[in-house]
């Protein structure tokens, strides 16, 4: 998706921000998507392709918060935002949600819809990969 300001530097900075979010375990989709990709043995590019997007498109998705439980489908539509296929993203996020529920992990922590009420958990110190 060609967006305003979508320069090489812009893309590099967004990719850097996503990596930093993953490294610090920030409560963003970046963390969930990275865990999923690792568990499935997929590269970031392969995961992006499976959603009919590019790695840069997936970075835009990764910067979003997980969808809220109450508005899951609507939130996924907004998160996909023309960057990736919304239907495929919906399936993927549902899958991550179910896998997370089975494993008892905190993967794809569903948020309650509504305003921010303080950080649920602060991320740990970022570590360089």
């Amino acid at each position: 998706m060609n967006l305003p300001g979508s320069t090489a530097r812009h893309r590099r900075l967004i990719a850097g921000l996503v990596q930093r979010a993953i490294d610090s375990g920030a409560s963003l989709l970046a963390t969930d998507l990275d865990r999923y990709a690792a568990a499935e043995g997929l590269s970031w590019e392969q995961l992006a392709r499976s959603l009919r997007g590019t790695p840069d498109d997936l970075n835009q998705v990764a910067l979003c918060r997980p969808p809220s439980a109450e508005r899951f489908i609507d939130d996924v539509q907004v998160i996909a935002g023309g960057y990736v296929d919304a239907d495929r993203l919906l399936i993927l996020l549902r899958q991550i949600q179910v896998l997370g529920a089975f494993s008892g992990s905190r993967s794809l922590r569903l948020r309650a819809a509504g305003p921010y009420h303080g950080a649920a958990s602060a991320p740990s110190a970022p570590a360089r990969r």
Partner: protein, 219 residues
């Protein structure tokens, strides 16, 4: 149905669901921070889109003597600090952009301390500590400013050079302005221009050398 926001200042509809109004230079950052507080799922993306184009040039200009990698990491940490804890920013205590700059500069100082072993015992490590510092002392940046000033003074001991460097960072090109801060006095225009160029090149070269030294430490 997905909600489509409008820019609160100019009313531009959000056509591509990014919610950031590119026509309006002032409202997007505040609006995206409000969206963060409101818990909207795309708010972090919008906030990053709104803040990055303004924050990055400020950091690059103010810390041109520091390797790009450190500046970019500090940018990311500042953005993530607000994304994770949007209530760190209290509007009655200053501008959001200022807070972002200060968080980023703290991270730069941390990185420099690690590199230079200035004072490892007080180097603060992570985002959590950073958030705690910001929560307790959100607008204290004297330490950061002083340390960065000290670094610049180390690179450019002559105060005239530092003033000239400020002009370089601000993108100034006026020969007269450079001549005034460098104290070059009365010289024929052609000679003055050549002298200013010589000093400017010398100052920029010093800064670049130091930046390369930092980079060698990093890589």
């Amino acid at each position: 149905m997905p909600h489509v926001r409008k820019c609160p200042k100019c009313g531009t509809p959000n056509q591509n669901l990014r919610s950031v109004c590119y026509r309006c230079g002032e409202c997007d950052l505040t609006a995206s921070h409000q969206a963060l507080l409101g818990g909207e799922p795309t708010a972090p993306r919008e906030f990053a889109d709104a803040a990055r184009p303004r924050l990055y040039p400020i950091l690059r200009k103010r810390h041109a003597f520091i390797p790009r990698e450190i500046v970019e990491d500090s940018l990311h940490d500042a953005l993530l600090a607000i994304i994770v804890s949007p209530d760190l920013y209290q509007p009655d205590r200053g501008s959001l952009l200022n807070l972002l700059v200060r968080i980023a500069e703290r991270r730069i100082v941390d990185a420099l301390r690690k590199l230079e072993r200035w004072s490892p015992e007080i180097a603060s490590g992570g985002l959590v500590e950073l958030e705690e510092i910001e929560a307790n002392h959100p607008y204290e940046s004297a330490l950061t400013g002083a340390e960065l000033e000290a670094l610049l003074a180390e690179i450019l001991p002559d105060s005239k050079d530092r003033q000239a460097w400020e002009l370089v960072c601000e993108g100034r090109t006026s020969v007269d302005e450079f001549a005034a801060v460098l104290g070059l006095g009365e010289l024929p225009p052609a000679q003055l221009k050549a002298e200013v160029k010589r000093h400017r090149d010398r100052i920029v070269a010093k800064v670049r050398r130091r930046r390369e030294e930092f980079r060698r430490h990093l890589l």
